[in-house]
Symmetry: C2
Subunit: 404 residues, 2 copies
């Protein structure tokens, strides 16, 4: 085992410059920890730098001051321009059915996930409804479900387990492509009549990450500005919802949670989505957004697979090629995270080893409901950090010895 | 009783153009319902229109893209410029102690209220902690406390009642100046050692609404961009917190709730607060923000009191003059809401009467934990709506007959 430090749970306050613990091994290529634990989408920034003039948002001091956007609509705090831009973007990409569907804006998809739980469970019965997702599941679901100890719903873990042994009403969250492992997914709990409800978290169902195999058409689908265009700092997400009452309850949740959603950011999102769509309408851009970002992600995956193949320390999931309706080609998925599995030892703590040996901070498999030999590493960093990551990763020759 | 319609609970979807119910009486001055139920702060818009050049926010397509603002700080999603602007504004106004205090940014003070409840109660004991506030209390507290049926905390109503009959751990929310009635307040539950904790909601503790009688210095104080400058659409609030662990937990709540707060809006808030503070530094503005807005509010209150005195149908609270540290004068409060009490009858439903007779939509006293002869009406509308409101109000001669 390389290194004996115990960096286990990361203290965000100590990043990115790391304290004494991490500086023990003189062969580590740099003193700076590469924080690849979160999925901060810096990779797309260079594209937007080239588009600055078109995307610049200007807001005068007296604009967007009201709580209200349109009191005649169900989601009264949603800017009409935002709703229009969302519908247009989905029509251009073809990744979701939006005709005859309700749109609900949220403060990122994090808030919309909770809004959906509320909408599907309130006013609530004597027991909280079980919330499940197939392991490995997105690490934030358990915490976001349970932090308030709600009487409406409770986290009940792996959907496969629930399918075998669980009883009673449940909500299954289907994350597709799945964070952390990038697979396209469907619900796994066997249909039980009225007992089960579904939330589809489609944050990564965009052409830079995956083939668009069909226009998704589920009861509740959530998306986010963070992963579609890379604008995480704006905290904008949206849901596409079939049922009016569910959409109304989700809006009510957001009203009670934050009394609406930043209009400044809604307008900025509308503008940026508009620029993407205009590009596809006019074909005037040097390189269109999804083509550019897909090319970048493809390049990263190719280089990553080379390092992984050479090292023989980790394995990566294999993804089948599928026909993409958006590009009209048979293409591979290029997920936003590398889901690494240590080959050598069942019991190894990959997060600890990567942090100790090469000062790369990923997120351990145990946070996703699986073994700690798995680790999730973000591939969405800027180019410099990504290059550093590959350089450091290539120095690991074994997980169980100190040779790297 | 004037009118027999039952507009009782307002359907937001039907505002501002009203349906058949409201058009019965031909003497009502207009068919349009004046929605003065929410406190949308449109009154300040004209000031910002004059300041447009100075306050214009410009954001290029590649700015503010990251989730992270500063990972070395406790509230890692808070823009440093925002924090600086908040501290500066409080120093200029003198309404809160900010030295050696933590600042936590939130998606409006709505989110910060819930963050404070979480911070004061997690991980939680066997029973939820009682949350109380002296009646009449802000109508959103009960709903925001109970909508998720949290096991950490539960709404327990009027703090005066709790003081008499309540037992166990509690949180008292002190809203000062109080929404709806504009009074300056202190905690009312008698100190019980370690059992009680306080949240001070100081949304209206700004010079346009109230004399600044001292720099507030409480454990947790929440403020909002919506009421300080009138920018409700940006959904920006902040808390000033004494205890580091409480501030850390509040930040953690916001991370789990919305994974941060719109950076676009944080930067816009910082800019606008900066313009206000620059004004007081340079004294170059024609009229400085708080002087202007106080003058407008004073004018509205003077005209409102004239109508109320003439009608003899409602009474308004009387507020003592107090010395204001900010202006250096003995001044009256000019709250953002009129808290009207029908004089004639104990059992009257003022909301129903105002809606039926003059098509003014206020919020009934029963939402604030008191009798429905009380009604809260926003005084923060734009000038045209405010004038219409006074005009319509002056036509009411009696609550119990149909004469108006």
């Amino acid at each position: 085992m390389c290194g004996t430090e115990s960096p286990a749970s990361i203290n965000r306050g100590s990043l990115p410059s790391v304290n004494g613990n991490g500086t023990r091994s003189p062969t580590c290529s740099s003193d700076r920890v590469l924080n690849l634990e979160q999925g901060d989408p810096s990779v797309f920034q260079s594209y937007w730098s080239k588009m600055e003039d078109k995307c610049t948002m200007v807001i005068s001091g007296s604009q967007l001051m009201s709580y209200i956007s349109d009191f005649t609509t169900l989601c009264w705090f949603m800017e009409p321009e935002f709703q229009e831009a969302v519908r247009r973007l989905h029509r251009v990409v073809g990744n979701a059915v939006v005709d005859d569907r309700y749109i609900v804006v949220g403060t990122g998809s994090t808030q919309l996930y909770q809004a959906a739980l509320y909408a599907l469970t309130s006013p609530g019965g004597p027991e909280p409804v079980s919330v499940v997702s197939a392991a490995p599941y997105y690490s934030a679901y358990p915490e976001e479900t349970d932090y308030l100890r709600s009487g409406l719903y409770k986290w009940a873990g792996d959907a496969y387990e629930f399918d075998k042994n669980g009883t009673g009403p449940y909500i299954e969250v289907v994350n597709s492509p799945n964070n952390p492992d990038g697979t396209l997914r469907e619900a796994v709990v066997t249909n039980r009549g009225d007992e089960g409800k579904l939330i589809h978290d489609l944050a990564y169902y965009w052409p830079q990450y995956t083939p668009i195999i069909r226009p998704a058409d589920h009861d509740i689908m959530t998306f986010t500005f963070s992963k579609s265009t890379g604008h995480a700092g704006s905290r904008i997400g949206w849901a596409v919802v079939k049922d009016k009452e569910v959409a109304r309850k989700m809006s009510k949740f957001i009203e009670m949670s934050t009394l609406g959603v930043s209009k400044d950011s809604q307008q900025r999102a509308a503008k940026i989505m508009g620029v993407i769509c205009d590009g596809y309408k006019n074909f005037k851009s040097d390189e269109l957004f999804f083509e550019h970002t897909r090319r970048v992600m493809a390049g990263r995956w190719e280089r990553l697979r080379q390092v992984i193949d050479r090292n023989q320390v980790f394995s990566l999931p294999k993804y089948p090629k599928q026909y993409c309706l958006f590009s009209g080609e048979l293409i591979e998925p290029y997920p936003g995270f590398a889901w690494l599995e240590a080959k050598e030892e069942e019991e190894i703590d990959s997060q600890k080893v990567l942090r100790g040996c090469i000062k790369v901070q990923g997120r351990t498999g145990s946070r996703f409901g699986v073994a700690q030999k798995y680790i999730r590493v973000s591939l969405l960093s800027n180019e410099e950090v990504f290059n550093q990551f590959l350089e450091r990763l290539s120095t690991i020759k074994s997980m169980s010895s100190n040779g790297h």
